[in-house]
């Protein structure tokens, strides 16, 4: 086995051992601030919340289910009396740009290493085994979870109104890589995603109110 390949093989084993330990660390502790309101809680709330006039709670929930179906979600759970809808969908997580980028970077690194070692030790490096060649890890699949919660808006006396609601949507996703490991477990905090949802929701509300 040639020097650079042996070195890369060793590196990979170190990395895989480190990953094992990282996964194990996942079953050890909860981050200390996991249940604390953070500095950007308020900002996220604004991003994820809209006040909607001229609709009652059941109609708004129905319109929301319509949007979720438009977006290909399946409804997992609902409790109308608490204004709760839970939905999810499984989708591909392959980012073509990412995968190709990784491939390019990997082959560039390999070429650079090969060039460096052949400059140092001569030309006979290419006969090593190629067991480590094809294990570029990339994101393959994802599960997207959504919960929508509505509540009646309050009037000036603090009483719930029938004809105005407040709706908040929160979105998360789990992403698995090509080796079946979870590569991301995250909340979606991109304003564009929420903006798109609320654009679709206003159209769906329009249709819902037309239908009745």
């Amino acid at each position: 086995m040639s020097a650079p390949r042996a070195a890369r093989g060793r590196l990979r084993r170190v990395v895989s051992t480190a990953l094992c330990f990282l996964l194990l660390a996942g079953c050890a502790t909860v981050p200390d601030n996991s249940m604390q309101l953070s500095a950007d809680s308020l900002q996220l709330r604004q991003l994820q919340t809209r006040r909607i006039e001229g609709i009652d709670e059941p109609a708004l929930l129905a319109a929301s289910v319509g949007v979720l179906q438009d977006l290909g979600f399946n409804i997992d759970e609902s409790e109308t009396r608490l204004g709760v809808i839970v939905a999810s969908k499984n989708r591909s997580a392959v980012d073509v740009g990412d995968a190709v980028g990784d491939l390019v970077v990997d082959s560039l690194v390999k070429a650079a290493l090969d060039a460096m070692f052949s400059a140092l030790f001569g030309d006979n490096f290419d006969e090593g085994d190629d067991e480590d060649e094809d294990d570029i890890v990339y994101d393959v699949t994802q599960k997207i979870h959504v919960s929508i919660v509505t509540r009646p808006a309050l009037d000036s006396l603090g009483q719930p109104r029938k004809d105005a609601q407040v709706l908040r949507i929160t979105i998360q996703r789990l992403v698995w890589d090509s080796e079946g490991r979870i590569s991301h477990a995250e909340s979606i905090e991109d304003p564009k995603v929420y903006q798109k949802f609320f654009d679709r929701l206003s159209k769906s509300i329009f249709l819902e109110l037309q239908a009745n």
């Binding site: 094992c20 194990l24 909860v30 604390q36 009396r81 204004g83 839970v86 509540r151 998360q172």
Partner: protein
């Protein structure tokens, strides 16, 4: 060479076994029911179950959770937070006498029950703000 490349796998497997997966886990707790309830449970001075559940749900959303389940009759809400880790929490709301609601939370992260009182205290602090009510320790 072969043995060395197997070593991390064997080590990882051994450690994982130590961390879970035995039938004993089904009925296992590390603390007594009284101990657990002392930090997982609080009473609020309200008789409104629906409003309490709605406040719990709003608080969980504030804390970046996505709901998994909600049931008004049973008084149960479950939710998950993904933030590099996976934190799953179930909150129950039931009447205590005629003037109080008893709120209990239990959480797990990955394969482990959360048995540190701090996250629960933080949760009830956030819930107090949402309910405009004080969380009372239950005797």
């Amino acid at each position: 060479m072969r043995i060395r490349s197997l070593l991390p796998v064997v080590l990882g497997a051994a450690l994982l076994l130590g961390c879970a997966s035995s039938i004993d886990q089904v009925m296992k707790t590390d603390q007594s029911a009284v101990q657990l309830r002392s930090y997982q449970e609080r009473a609020f001075d309200t008789a409104d179950k629906e409003q309490t559940l709605r406040s719990v749900i709003a608080t969980l959303q504030d804390l970046s959770f996505v709901l998994d389940k909600a049931d008004l009759d049973l008084g149960v809400v479950s939710a998950t937070k993904l933030s590099g880790y996976q934190l799953r929490v179930t909150v129950t709301v039931r009447p205590r006498g005629s003037s109080q609601m008893l709120v209990r939370a239990n959480a797990q992260q990955g394969e482990l029950a959360v048995e540190d009182p701090k996250p629960y205290q933080d949760f009830f602090t956030a819930l107090e703000k949402s309910m405009f009510l004080t969380a009372h320790q239950v005797e």
